[in-house]
């Protein structure tokens, strides 16, 4: 882009452009900042009227209390959430990768038909099956059972399959030729040649899968209870003091710990994730 000389009109234009962008950004980020600064307040400071913007002394002990108070079972919930997310994500990534590979690199009669089914599947509103699913799962003993997430994961998901398909389609043809000259069958070709070269997509799909379970509340609240309760379920109701009054600041501290891993990983993997969102969004 060629540089234009800066005349007063252009300076004003640049200035107002930045002003609008920054104002909008602040509007979007302020709620999150508010969560952060409130999480280190005493409950009385948080409730104060007129409002007290910043705590006089940050109350870091909120975080300690959330993590250590056995009544809240925070660590247990965190372990459950991690476990559940892994139980879903690992089979989800492998199943999606293998199906995406098949759609990208293998020829077979009916492939086009199956691909149309895959695309149509994305348009089916998920909620249309909730009642029969619930009845079937209760009959099969899958209620309050992490196995359900494993089975969901095993089925892969259309978006993830598309991401893998896109990625594997870009590999050079020689790769398969070399493999078949070496006498590798389809399984070996996939697991020893294609999959090890698909780390970037595996990372992105894993992250999508993991954060779907980590951030999901509804399916967990619907199908799990008691000992199996996850962090999302525990945080949906406020943490309380011994008398049963909610302590919002403590809850917010818990939520910061809960949301932080996702935000951190997003910042670290920004480029790949944006690519993933664009691929599934535009070409999906």
């Amino acid at each position: 882009m060629n540089k234009k000389p800066l005349n007063p009109g252009r300076v004003f234009e640049r200035f107002s452009l930045y002003a609008v962008i920054i104002a909008l950004t602040v509007l979007f980020i302020l709620p999150i900042i508010w969560m952060l600064i409130s999480s280190v307040k005493a409950e009385t400071d948080f409730m104060r009227w007129p409002i007290l913007w910043f705590a006089p002394v940050p109350k870091w002990s909120n975080y300690v209390q959330v993590l250590t108070n056995p009544k809240y079972g925070f660590i247990k919930g965190m372990l459950n959430s991690t476990m559940l997310a892994l139980i879903f994500s690992i089979p989800n990534v492998i199943s999606s990768a293998i199906a995406g590979y098949a759609f990208a690199r293998m020829k077979a009669p009916g492939r086009n038909g199956f691909f149309i089914i895959l695309m149509a599947m994305m348009m089916i509103p998920a909620s249309v099956t909730v009642i029969p699913q619930f009845v079937l799962y209760s009959r099969l003993g899958l209620i309050n059972n992490y196995l359900l997430w494993f089975l969901w994961g095993l089925a892969g998901s259309p978006f993830q399959i598309l991401l893998f398909r896109q990625f594997f389609a870009s590999f050079p043809k020689e790769l398969e030729d070399a493999a078949s000259i070496d006498g590798a069958g389809p399984l070996r070709t996939f697991f020893q040649i294609f999959l090890p070269n698909a780390q970037p997509v595996m990372a992105v799909t894993f992250l999508f899968a993991f954060s779907w379970v980590w951030g999901d509340w509804f399916h967990q609240a619907f199908y799990l209870s008691g000992e199996k309760a996850t962090l999302a379920m525990k945080l949906a109701t406020a943490f309380t003091d011994p008398k049963g009054n909610p302590i919002i600041t403590l809850t917010l501290a818990g939520l910061v710990i809960y949301a932080l891993p996702l935000i951190t990983v997003y910042f670290l993997m920004q480029k790949q994730l944006v690519q993933g969102i664009v691929t599934t969004g535009l070409k999906g």
């Binding site: 199906a99 939520l255 935000i263």
Partner: protein
Amino acid sequence: MSADTQTILQTKRKFLGLSGYGWLRVSWFYVFIAPWFLGFLAFTVIPMAVGVLMSFTNFTGTNFDTYKFIGLANYSEAFGEFFTDGLAWYALSRTFLFAIITIPINIVLSLLIAILLTRNIRGKGFFRTLFYIPSIIPVVASVWIWKALMDNNYGVVNAVLNEIVPNTYIRWLTEYPFHVLVMWSVWAGVGGAVIIFMAGIQGVPAELEDAARIDGANNFQMFRNITAPLLTPVIFYQFIVGIIGSLQILTQPLLLAPRAVQAGIATLPPRENYMFMIHIYQESFVRQRYGYGSSLLWILFFFILILTIVMTYTSKYWVYYEVNPEDK
């Protein structure tokens, strides 16, 4: 696309003659897609079939041995509600209102932000990330953020309003829960669309822009005649996703209900936020009318389907499909 079809045609031809293909080699394709396809049968096709059957019964979730097929009774009850202003109709109209308000705001706002961010500015990646953060935050975390913002006693929004108009005391969560729901949805939904729109704008071929500049087009003309037409497929996609998503809204109104969520999915949100999916859950799982609930689900499915078809049909009048010879 055409090349794709071509290879598939070739495949078919080859397959019919079985030249170069052994059954063994071809069958690996089916093995590889089996986990997905069996999952699709188990979690989508079979439940859908069961759901259709269930919607014609008086199934209560427990009467496995005694339930009866009652024909179209569930459907006529539901449509009866629609015509007599019943609860089902009320819930459906609230849901449509939510969709009609949220989808355009989301699209316009995200498009606007994307346009601003793709101007020649520093740190566009950084700003893009900031807009996306509300979308990454888990729903349970963002509902508490919004409850804290909108609370009538200690909320930030009332505090700020108080600076402007003293003694403002708005009970957002109980008197204007629908407004909060809309604001929250926009806040959490814009980021993803911004990313997709930005990619669309940056994907506009430079030759086109240069040619327009040489012809003396100004910024608005450039947008109107070059960027906007090339973005119509993205806008179309956002509309479809928006319709499918917002008509099924359920989690957000449940979590936003003031009486916490001790009751889990049985929580009743304020009347303004009584969405169609919430009505379905109330009827099915609280009042144990699985058969009737199933018929409501199919009615919702039907509405979504019709809207998607109508949108797709109208798309040929306003969506511009670029034919790229390099596109596979």
